[in-house]
Symmetry: C2
Amino acid sequence: MSYIIGVDLGGTYIKAGSVSKDGTLLNQTSVPSNGEIGPDAVVAQIAKAVDTIRQKHGGEELLGVGIGSPGMVDLDGGTVKYPPNFAGWKVFRLGDEVAKKIGVRVEVENDANAAAVGEQKFGAGRGFNNFIMVTLGTGVGGGFIVDGKVFRGESGGAGEIGHITINYDGPLCGCGNRGCVEAYVGQKYLSRRVAEQLKSRPDSLINKLIGGNPENLEPKIISQAADQGDAFALEVWKETGRYVGAAVAAAFNLFDVGVLIIGGGVANAGKPLFDSIEETVKGRVLSPIRPRVKILKAQLENSAGIVGAAALIA
Amino acid sequence: MSYIIGVDLGGTYIKAGSVSKDGTLLNQTSVPSNGEIGPDAVVAQIAKAVDTIRQKHGGEELLGVGIGSPGMVDLDGGTVKYPPNFAGWKVFRLGDEVAKKIGVRVEVENDANAAAVGEQKFGAGRGFNNFIMVTLGTGVGGGFIVDGKVFRGESGGAGEIGHITINYDGPLCGCGNRGCVEAYVGQKYLSRRVAEQLKSRPDSLINKLIGGNPENLEPKIISQAADQGDAFALEVWKETGRYVGAAVAAAFNLFDVGVLIIGGGVANAGKPLFDSIEETVKGRVLSPIRPRVKILKAQLENSAGIVGAAALIA
């Protein structure tokens, strides 16, 4: 049987896995990224991970290797530009260099875009030619599918929905801008705001779940409390949904699209968050878009990085 | 000499003009739109205007007719959907109907998109494959050029930059959403805010220019006062630039583009407004886009409607 290898290039680890042509994850491995040594070391580690997977497949045909990478990606040569968390990387033809080393077809895309392609081919995006994928995690990532293809913009940097301003006077964001949606719902900012609000909500179950230590606060805890009906936790997801919804409505109005797929850890908040996003988006988009609004949960979940990267080849 | 006819379909008047292949406006005419009678009456009026222009060109070759229309436009059949200010219009194959009547090639586009195409072919957008055109007038219109073509989205409604939320908790906009940039800088909202602020600025020259009557307040007056160094008027443009800049930065981050062309009456505010927009955008966009930021004034000005429509054929 033929297979694809998907590579999820992270700041600390490289995860690689074999994926069937219908998107099933078969085998996987992980190696340190070695990003601090430089791009050549990363290429060597990718080759090593690919080799490990290849051995498990004996003589089966490897159709190609897809790589989801942080940073801006230029399709010409699979060039990765200034990836965050890779000191001294600058501009590097990652795709060409990996292809030289392993002798098969290699495609590289930005990781958020690869996740969107994964959902399009194997997940919640099947059947939609136009949708926005938002990943709610440490940051707020975006991948836009327009006319069935990744919308890349002038230089591959398009889709930065995390840096839509939802309040021109809002809190400072890590990007230098003010009031970006990421500065409201990115994991660090979300936890900080909730910790602050918790002070006036001593009755909330969250206090018990974190053992009184705000350092333990994370989205999973808020969800646990919400699942048990904690009023404050439910309010947190409602408020979070309002922020996300305002940014998504702006993006829907600009792109004339109505389908949103939500992935990332925070998406596990489920119904309280999704209902609030849907209500907000429907209340805010222009009327011709309203009947097309659909808010869906990403389906690839934990394997999104590897399967999304593999989808670049499929 | 061959020529094109551009038709600017407005709610009250149809303006039509002949345009040379290099974008020079040659002859023009105007007739009532008759929109209240229905789409067939509008087609008859367009044909009449085209006929008037044609007669002025004797035997010269008419290359085609471009129409800039309000509402969403579907390229299939030049279909115009639910144009504002045309009661009972709904969905109508305007392009096909006009072509049947006049026997030449007809292209229809949304008016904001046509204005962007006009700037691309004959104005400030020459040499740029990717830019955003924003029209600051009664409303805030947008036309996005991506890879040299109009970005239309799923159904021709893309580019609604006026309805980016710049404050999720902001004032109500005519579209039903809150805190849209149009609800800050659309002419009516702008005048209302300035009238309110004027109460505490009795020293402003604007008071004198409007003869004490807030009904007389319009952007042209604010510009007159600013030109004479009125401190409050300069603050108004600075504030307006901050609102526009926040929305433009969000659009730049989503589309990975750095060139903005500003048209419409409010663009005549000139340097105080443009400087504030540029400063705001540069402070807000993601760093890879910053070096590409260019804020330009539209060049077609008063003839933008006709020449932009003609550019659909050129």
